[in-house]
Every structure is written in structure tokens, then in C-alpha cells.
Symmetry: D4
Subunit: 173 residues, 8 copies
Amino acid sequence: VNPLVSVVMGSDSDLPTMVECVKALQTYEISYEVLVLSAHRSPEQTTAFARQAEARGVRVIVAGAGGAAHLAGVIAAHTSLPVIGVPIDSSPLAGFDSLLSTVQMPPGVPVATVGVGKMGAKNAAHLAARILALESKGLSERVKEKQRQMTEDVLKIATTLPAKLKELLDKKA
Amino acid sequence: VNPLVSVVMGSDSDLPTMVECVKALQTYEISYEVLVLSAHRSPEQTTAFARQAEARGVRVIVAGAGGAAHLAGVIAAHTSLPVIGVPIDSSPLAGFDSLLSTVQMPPGVPVATVGVGKMGAKNAAHLAARILALESKGLSERVKEKQRQMTEDVLKIATTLPAKLKELLDKKA
Amino acid sequence: VNPLVSVVMGSDSDLPTMVECVKALQTYEISYEVLVLSAHRSPEQTTAFARQAEARGVRVIVAGAGGAAHLAGVIAAHTSLPVIGVPIDSSPLAGFDSLLSTVQMPPGVPVATVGVGKMGAKNAAHLAARILALESKGLSERVKEKQRQMTEDVLKIATTLPAKLKELLDKKA
Amino acid sequence: VNPLVSVVMGSDSDLPTMVECVKALQTYEISYEVLVLSAHRSPEQTTAFARQAEARGVRVIVAGAGGAAHLAGVIAAHTSLPVIGVPIDSSPLAGFDSLLSTVQMPPGVPVATVGVGKMGAKNAAHLAARILALESKGLSERVKEKQRQMTEDVLKIATTLPAKLKELLDKKA
Amino acid sequence: VNPLVSVVMGSDSDLPTMVECVKALQTYEISYEVLVLSAHRSPEQTTAFARQAEARGVRVIVAGAGGAAHLAGVIAAHTSLPVIGVPIDSSPLAGFDSLLSTVQMPPGVPVATVGVGKMGAKNAAHLAARILALESKGLSERVKEKQRQMTEDVLKIATTLPAKLKELLDKKA
Amino acid sequence: VNPLVSVVMGSDSDLPTMVECVKALQTYEISYEVLVLSAHRSPEQTTAFARQAEARGVRVIVAGAGGAAHLAGVIAAHTSLPVIGVPIDSSPLAGFDSLLSTVQMPPGVPVATVGVGKMGAKNAAHLAARILALESKGLSERVKEKQRQMTEDVLKIATTLPAKLKELLDKKA
Amino acid sequence: VNPLVSVVMGSDSDLPTMVECVKALQTYEISYEVLVLSAHRSPEQTTAFARQAEARGVRVIVAGAGGAAHLAGVIAAHTSLPVIGVPIDSSPLAGFDSLLSTVQMPPGVPVATVGVGKMGAKNAAHLAARILALESKGLSERVKEKQRQMTEDVLKIATTLPAKLKELLDKKA
Amino acid sequence: VNPLVSVVMGSDSDLPTMVECVKALQTYEISYEVLVLSAHRSPEQTTAFARQAEARGVRVIVAGAGGAAHLAGVIAAHTSLPVIGVPIDSSPLAGFDSLLSTVQMPPGVPVATVGVGKMGAKNAAHLAARILALESKGLSERVKEKQRQMTEDVLKIATTLPAKLKELLDKKA
């Protein structure tokens, strides 16, 4: 059975960031595949992947890259599927380079850009889930359930705050 | 009949930017509505809108705002629909503020961010079309047709380049 | 007895920063409460908190958040109390994102923004004290006493400088 | 009778920005004075002003400046009143300089910073009103009334949107 | 006869910038062609162009683009010729986006990046001339002659400075 | 008689900025010369100028340049006189490039950097005056007189503020 | 026998970055020399080096520097060889200073700028190889072979991804 | 005997940076004093220091501060001596805040700004030496000697490069 989401990255050094996307996809029970594809170092494979993804049953592509992060944009140019871009902070410029390279796409070739680094990698999964939920009642329920869970988690954390605060205040005293 | 895409903006001064989104949606024949909703000045209406959008049949929400652009994020917190954020360059800080306010969302509340200004407003429509195309064969065809058209347009422009170049070279001579 | 200052934060990972606010409030003997509230993950609780704060006797709200830091702005939209925003440097973008998301608020919904990180968390308490001192002669005296103390501290540090300088010069020699 | 709010600015070239603060204060019927004071060019007058403001009955000081905007910080060092800083975008660096110079104050000398330029100048008035409302039931009512008005204005604007949109779409057609 | 330099750009709206490159190439009598090719909107043509350029006799490729400027990088991925990238300031972000998107390329796929806008477009031609001069004694002489000319121009301008200065001083008096 | 201050700039297009330096030097009655010298286009003349300046009686060098502004740094490398750098905002990057290129000099080759653009050009003259005043009682008096004058000017402007404010308020009403 | 590429750097503290350039040159079997030359601290040697490089048989110069990185630009002003600039992230400003100081050169004195830090140092070698390959069939073959190798490496890495992903997922579980 | 240079800093936490200035002053045998003075926390002492410095025989003031670094500017407002500003990178914003707060001073109140952090602290001493050398033949000789020494140091380092390079290449092999 083919995966619904392709998680691609420009280098295996991006994996510690992108694994956050994979873990979040798992919590939604969304099928996925994980690939290393470089817009610049394996351009033909990247283009071929992008062209064939839809026919293979892929519905959403998540692409993470650092530096001059062209991966998401190049894939978006060769598919009509929605492409989510994750800017990775792997250069000395702290992710400003990958963010601007990913988000400032020309009209007609959109990349749905999420935040820089692990935070963004997680949100790529959450965004993919929202998109896929449009055509799956079950997934739509899981997204809503997850939002409720997220709220409950925040509320539970809230109850642990006094103890954590006390610990910090004591430690510094 | 209910619209598939809600195009919302924080102020009517954002309309000259967001009209680019509307025009691009029209070319796809995607039904839409256009609303002014402020995360800060009409927060209850914004929250109510976000909560009811899915039940009203809306599938994708596009939210454009400038400055500390919270609109897309606040809407994403109250719906499980995909939300596309358009950072608008309406403050002296050239859109760096609206871009960062829109894209750097915490895990679980993703905003699919596109580029700053009119370029981004257009791409919000193109991204919405790609998402909606997942469940509409007709729209999927129109997206692909549009991509082909876009390519043809670039190729046509290419043929007019020598004349334009000559004009520029002559003018400056 | 109800607290005068609510110190809220978007996540318990913000606590090591925001504890600096708490410690500074303690030196003023200002009553406070500390809460985790997320503009995006527990929006209803956040809105409810903001709407009820004034009636509960809260006079000033301090809100700290990182990334696309909407917390202070969203709270300011639902209360007429003064809201102080602390941008936290928790994303790879070093706090530029949280600073711009907090300070660039639209007209009518002001957030009194202080500096990024722990420095700002401390100043949120000092700013709250200045505001509350407007209606409390005792607190006004404590603020002034604190300013004198601060000056004395700097002067005392000045007397220890020669020894510290000598140590650094010797070490590097 | 003495004014409650002092609106000071570093140069009369800042007046077109700071007049937005004055106009917003007028809508609240808050008494004010407007002064030109330079942290660098009339430092003694600035210091004297800051030291005497509280005794003169001033409750909140709003200080607007551009470039290396030290005015708000220097005033905050010489008073225990709350000081609101308005960064003005008068240098080629678009207000990044005045924003960082105003907001990044050391612990103990807080400046309540609002947004860059006219947007911030307006919010300085709204923030002053929220602070002053803590000790004035009448003003508190006006702040709340203003918030309601602001919401109504947005809702009214919303009704005019279809016509404006049509005009823009027709013009471009 | 085939051109030595290909000047490509992502859109004909880049022509007013890139014409500066053409004019500078003309002063060196270097043969050139000018093409519109979009990394995103005509990706196949761009890839085909890049792959065939060397066989067609092209020696250096100059690629100008704005926003998320992927053009130079994508071309560099499909050729082993030297590629010069010109970041164009066509988005609200003043060219910071195109600069970072062009220069921060991953190892193995270098783009020789020049400055933002017209200044960079001119330098792309000067850089191409320096590269081509390595294999052409005649061109090497023209490059050196041009450098001498440039120096003479500066020295000549120097002689006109007193008059220009006087004019400015008089006007302002 | 030789000038005490050399005002040099990288191009005659910098003159409208640097004339502000000249005008301020005139108010101090400091002798000056104005030269166009390019670190890159007339490097030998620049080096020769820097090497000979001290022997010619020059005491302070002011160097203004835009973009990758190397002029002040290159001159500082060839003289032991104090060199003041004026970053000029002539590229699309708003002066961030010239500021960083001028100020971030390596240890041993300092450039006394002032603000970006006309504001900085004026301050280059004021800084030169402060340096030269160390060895001239007369000039020291003029600097102090100028500071007093500056204060008086601010105070005088203060008296005109009510009328200007009224005009602005009336106009907008 | 003389080297084809000169690798120069402003300080020996830049060597850990620039060694990446050397290692990449070795893989191409391109002859090189490595020199410390400072635009500011040994300007005469730098100028002399630049003037004599071509006569010594050098074909491409790679210059790495941090902070106000003038080295590449100053060398480009004294030679007609192609100069590649490597911005090094050695100051607190993360390489934004060295990048802008290197790339924003005035017309006529181009610096072929590559990315910040080690990534850029590697690409300087790859760019030099592409330039030198224009006149060497053997090197042209090695460049193409290297590109193929690079692609194969990415494809090989791709096969190891599932194991790496599993390890990361297990570790975090 | 009174010192010629006052080295002041906003906090003793700035000492590890400013000690670099002290060490460089020592190599010139320039007399100095080191003081902690805060523009905001001990403003009266700072103002008094600035006003009395000249009468005490001080010729140049070096002021280092982080964050909203007002120290140098405030001192410059109360003295007619040349003031050198050292921006310190002590906040999360990497020194962009202290650089802009120090350099962007209004006309008439110049601060001679040097680079961010230790590099700048050293250059403050070198700049002070250049200024003081204008009135001291002996110091002028020492500055020139130092420049020669600096050049010799670079040349000596150059001779050690092959060994260092070999070590790095071997280590990585």
C-alpha cells in the first residue's frame, strides 16, 4: 500500500530535524515514506520523484532543507500536489536563509512554509493531517481529538507549574 | 451555495494585496467569500468564524495580515481546517514582522505560510487550489492546465524578449 | 486574596525565563499568580482568563512567549488591562521572531513590550511595579528605593572592579 | 491643571508621527502636554523633566525617537513613572535601529515599547489609557467603550468590503 | 556562431536589471544570448537549457532572479559550467531573500554570487569577462584595459568634484 | 596651507550625502579637502593618498562609501591617522551592508564608524571636530559653543511646537 | 611548478574553515598554494600578491575572511583574475557582516561569492574547478565525474535512511 | 597623574570583553582608568563623570555596553571629548541591538563606533592611540611601530601555515 505523505529531505544530516515530522505523522496513523532527495545533487531523481508522486498515490509532500533551501520549491514546480516546506537551521545564518529560500516562491508555484527547525518539522505533519482530513472523516476526527488532547496537555502542565516554579525559586535562592 | 475558500484579512487596507488572491481563485473557478476579521479588534467574530467555518462548508481559509500578524494563527487555533497565511508588508519593517509572526507557529497549530505581499496573496490561491484538487478531479485538471499555461506564458514571453531588450538598449544608448 | 499581577506563559519550557519576572515581583512584595496559557493550544482558556482577569482583581498581565508570540496580543484583545509582553528566544531565530510578533500590534490593542529573554522578564516585573505604583504610595516608595539600591549596587560593583580586572589581566598574562 | 500624560519627542521632525498619539489621547479626553526634548542635544532639560514629572502630576510619559533612540530609556532612568517608548522610522534602517535601541533596556529600567512609527504612536496613547484607567473608573469605561467601538468599526468596514472588492476587481479587469 | 555567455532571468520583469549585464558584456565584445527561463514555471526548459549549454559552446551562464531565487542554483545542478547568480530586489524584502537563496548553496553545486540588483548585474558581466579571459589573450587585454579605464574615469570624476560640490553648497545656502 | 581634514568618497554619487559633512566642517571653520578615491577602482591612488596624508598635514580622514564599503578600512590600513567611516545607503540593502563592512574591522585597523547616510556624514564632521579640539583651544571652544547652540536650537524648536501641533491637528480634522 | 589556485585567508584562525577548500581542491588534483594575507594588516604584501599572481601562473584566487571581510575585494582590485570570496562566520554577527562585505562589490570589481563558512569554503573549490575546467578537458571530466559521484553518494545515503530513521525513532521511544 | 583614556562599561559582566581594550592600551603604554558606569542605573554618576572628564585630563573616553547600549551616546551628550563606543554582544540578539544603539546617533552627538565584542574592544584602544598620537610624537611612533609589528606578525604566521595545514589535513584524513 502506498503512503499518503512523502517526507523528503536534502541530506541525511536533516534527519534529526525531520524525524519530528515522522513521529507526529505516526500519532495520526498517517502512512508515510522518508526519502533523501537533493534538488542540487540528485536533481533528476528529485524531478522524477515529484512527477510520479501523485500517480503513486502520494497526496502531500513535506520537504525539509537548509541553507539555500530549494528542495520544496523545485518539487512544487514538478507536481500539482500540495508541498509543505520545512526550513532547517543548518547554516551559520540561523535559518534566515532557509526560511526566505522556501517561502518567497513566485506566483503559481506555492510552498506551504512552516517554522524553522524541529518546531516546523512537527507542524509539517500537523498541516499534512489537516489537508488529508478534508477527504477522510476518520482523520478529521483524529485531528480534532489531537487538538483537544493538546489543550488538555496544556491544562495538565498548568497544574504542575506551581511545583516547577517552587523548584526553580528554591534552586536559585 | 457555500464557498470553499474563505479569504479573510485584518483590515480593509489589506484589500489591494488580497484582491490578488481573489483574482487567482476566480481563474480556478473556486467559490470564495471575502471577509474583514481582526484577531485583535473583532476577536469574538474571528473566533466564531473559525469555529463555524467547517460546518458552513468552507474547506480552506486564507488569512492575510500585516505587522504582528496573528490572524492566521488565531484562526488555526479555532479550526481544524488548513489555514494559509499571507504576511502583508504594511509596516515600516518591510514584512519581516508579518512573515515571522505568521510562520513561526508552535507545534500543533500550523499555518501554511506563503510569501510576503501580493506575490504571496496569489500563491495563497494557488496553494488552496492544490489542496482542494485532492478531492476534485476537475480542479486537479485545472491546476495542471494552469501549470501548463504558466509554462507556455513563460515561453511566449521568451519570444518577446529580444524586442524588449532592444528597446531598453536603444533607450539607454 | 487575589493577585495584582498575572504572569502567564505559553509553555512550561518558558518557565526558566519567566521565573526572573517572579523573583523580581517578589522583591517588590507584589502579589502574583503564575499560569500556563497558550494562545493557540488552549485558546478558550486564554480568552476566558483575559476576560475575567479584571473582575478577579488583576491589575497588570505579563505574558511571555517565543516564536510567533501571539499570547500577549491575544490577551490584550480580550481585556482592557495593561498587558506587558516578554519575547522569549526559544526558536532558532534568536528572538527576532518573538520580538516582532509581540511589539508590532495594530492600533487599539497595545502590548507594552520589554526586551528579549531573561532581561525582559525582569523588566516586565519592574514595569508592572511602576504601573501599580501609580495607585500605591507604598509601592511607589519601594520602586524608588529599588532604583536607589540599583544605583548603590552599581557603585559597589565599581569598587570591586580593580580586583576583577587584575585577576583577568593576570590570568591572560 | 497639570496634564496626566507627557508626550515627548527627540525632534520636531518626529511630530507627524507623534501627532497620532495626541489625537488618540484626545479621543480618551486624557489631558496631555507635548514637548521636544533630546536625550543628547538637551540632556539637562530632559533629565530635569524626567525628575520633576511625577511631582508635576504627570502619570505616564510617552517618548518617541528615531535612530539610536535613547530618549525613552534615559527618561526611564530618571523617573519611577511608567515610560512608553515609540520607535520612529526616521533613518535609512527602517526602524530596526530605533526599535532595538528602545526595547532592549537593562533590568530595572523598563521601557514599555510599542510598534514602529505611526502605528506605535497610536498604541502609546491606547496603552497610556489602559494604565490610567486602573485608577479612573470613568476612563476605564471609555477604554472599554473604545474597544467596543473598534469592534463595531471593523464590523462596519466588513459590510463595505464587497463594494470595495468589486471596484478593485473591475478596475483591474 | 554560438554565444559564450548565456544571460538568463526568471521573468521579463527582471530585464531592466539584467540589461545592465548585457550592456557591460557588449563593452567587452563578448558574444551573448538573453533568455527567460524559470526554475519553477518552465523547469523542463531550464533543465534542458542547463544540460545542453556546454555542448552549444556556452562557457559561462549568468542567472538573475528575485524572491526565493532558485534559478542559478537549479542551473548549476544541471551543468558543470561556472554559473554566476544575480540576486534581484523585486520582493518587499529588499533583496535579502534573493541574496540568501542564491549564495547559500550546498557543497558541490556552487553559484558565483554577485551583489543585489543592477550593481550585481553589471558585475556578473565583469566576472564572466575575467573567467573567459583565462583562455583568451585578447579578452584578457580588454579586461585590463577596462580596469585602467575605470581608474581613469574615477580620476576624471575627481577633477569635476569641486564644481559639483560648489553647486551643492550654493544650492543649499 | 594644507587642510586638516580629508573628506573622501568612493564615487561622486556619494556627494549629496557627504556634502553634509562638508557643511558641518565649515561651521567649525575647519579646513578640509574633498576627494573621490575608490578602494577598488583607483586603489593605487587611494593607497598613495593614505600613505601621504599625514606628511601633508592632514590630521583626520573621513571616508564615505556604500555597498561593500571598504574605503575607510583600506585607508586605515595605510595610515596611522584616525579614520572616520560613513556608511552610505546606496544599495538596495538600505545601508546594512555598508554599516557592517565599515564597522566590523579586525583588531589593529580601527575605523571610527558613524551612522548610516546624511546623519552619519554630519556626525563625521562633529567627531573630527572633537578629535581636532584636543590640540586646539579655539576649536575646543567652538565645539562647546556648538553644543550650547544645539541645545538652544532644541529649546527654541520646543517653543514652536504648539503651533506646529495645532496645524497638524487642524489639517487632519 | 606553479599552483593554479591560490587559497588566501586573512588570519590563521580562518584555517579550520579554509582547509575544507584545500581538501576539495585535492580531490580534483588541482595544484594550489595556501597563504595568510591580510587586506588590513599586511596590505602591501596583499597588493603585491594580487598584482603578481597572474604572472606566476595562478588562474583563480580564493580569499576567505571574517568580519568586515575586505580581502577578496581588495585582491580583485589588483588583479584581473577571477576572485572567489568565502565569507567566514568568525564575529558575533554570524557571518552576515562577512557575507555583505564580500558580495556587495561595486561595478567593475566583482567577487564571486560563495556561502558562509565551511559550506562556502568547499564550494570555492568546486567553483574554481568549474572555471579551470573551461580550459582543461581532463579537469572538465573530473568535474562531471564528481557530479555523478555526488549523485551516487546521495542515492547511497538514501538506502541507509530507513536504518538511521529506525534508530532515531527507537532512541526517542 | 591622571589617565588619558577612561574605559567605562555598563556592568562588570562586560569586563571580560573590555579587558581586551585595557590590554591593548597597555601595549601602547597609554595611561587609563577603568570604571563601571551605567547610563540607566547610575545616570547621575555617569553624567558627572562625563562632565568632569576633560577637566580631569582625560582625552578619550571608551564606553562599552550591551543591549540598548546608550552609555556611549549619553556620555557623548555631556562632554566634548571624543567618545568611542564598543557594542557588546550580551543579549540574545547577537549584538545587532548594541551596534545599532551605539552607532545611529543624531547629528551633533557623534560616537566613534567600533566592531561588536572583543574585536571592537581591542580596536577601541587602537583608535584611542591614533587619536592621542596626533598630539604625541612618541605615541605616533609607537602606533606606527605597532602597525609594522602587526604586519610582521602576519608574515610570521604565514610561515607557520604549512605545518598547521598539514596537521589539519592529517587529522581529518
